[in-house]
């Protein structure tokens, strides 16, 4: 199975972003992290995609989820709880 493309839009201070990144790391899921606090271009890209100024936002193979939603992550990544 091809690896899923996972993007995380986050800020360094946001606890739910840390949770998201830790969850992905613990489950050995490779992901690309965009720090939207310092990376203006990534921030604009995120807002363009979702229309929302909120972190974290997680994109898995083109599907976007706002916030930390463990159920959604497990489902999208085929992880059992």
């Amino acid at each position: 199975m091809a690896a899923k493309q996972v993007k995380v839009y986050s800020t360094p201070t946001c606890p739910w972003c840390l949770k998201t990144k830790k969850f992905l790391g613990d489950n050995k899921v490779a992901f690309e992290n965009f720090d939207v606090a310092s990376d203006k271009q990534a921030r604009e890209e995120m807002v363009k995609k979702s229309g929302q100024l909120v972190v974290p936002q997680v994109e898995i193979d083109g599907d976007l989820k706002i916030g930390y939603d463990e159920g959604w992550l497990r489902q999208k990544l085929d992880l059992t709880s």
């Binding site: 360094p12 946001c14 606890p15 949770k19 830790k22 229309g51 100024l53």
Partner: protein
Amino acid sequence: MYEAIIVGGGPAGMAAAVYAARKMLKSLLITKDIGGQVNQTAAVENYMGYQFIQGPELMAKFEEQMRRFPIDIQTGKVVRSVSSSGKGFEVTTDQGDVYHGKAVIIATGKRSRQLNVPGEKALVGRGVTYCAICDGPLFQQMTVAVIGGGNSALEAVNDVIKYAEQVYLVSLTPLTADSILIEKARNAPNLTVLTEYQTLEIIGADRVQGIKVKSLKTQEAKVLAVQGVFVEIGLVPNSDLVRGLAPLNEAGEVVVNCANETGVPGLYAAGDVTAVPEKQIVVAAGEGSKALLQADRYLQRLRS
């Protein structure tokens, strides 16, 4: 059929889970997420054993301790309702999963209170946020309003003032936050404080463009041009799952006695969702432990 089902994965729920494992009860912890509100707490300096620890780190330590024990844990699930069924309880999730338990401990905590004004719901994530520590850095060089006058509002002010160009603090009452936080905020040159102002509306189509506020003294209304609104007006209990089953107080908190009993045999509650005074991590953990020990006594009586 489980002996104990614990609903909620914050300090109260996780402490209860550890005690359940030590009593060797067949038990299940079911929760939306691990850590709850503590995940949004930057610094904890009053949980005994740690002089300073970040909220999410403390919750990771709770989780690690809990997972050392053989207990069923279901995360990513929101419990919609708990009802009495025969000799126990039926616990139903939003996804329609049903679990049965002889005893249930409600430890679902609290969530951010909403303003309930026009425009708020539609603009959540479009400039309206309930987590300053999460979203604050996204509002760089913008003008924002923080709604509220308590500690969480002043903490939000002190956080966003570092990024925002201009900050309005709009409070319905005189500020009630700790003096140390108010002093810190008042020194900022880019803060305007409006006390005894009611927030009437959040204005904007697909992005926040302003808020309408009214002075309670003069009744005069005005519009503040802002691109962000941080709502920090306190918390409401996640008690809907037992509404109609257990007694709730006016604030919607589950009423329990000093043994964490709700009055429904076998149904216990602990932590911030209850009417127990003082919402603290150390109190919630203690209450969760207490609730489970009481549930264990109840289960012993059922067996005898």
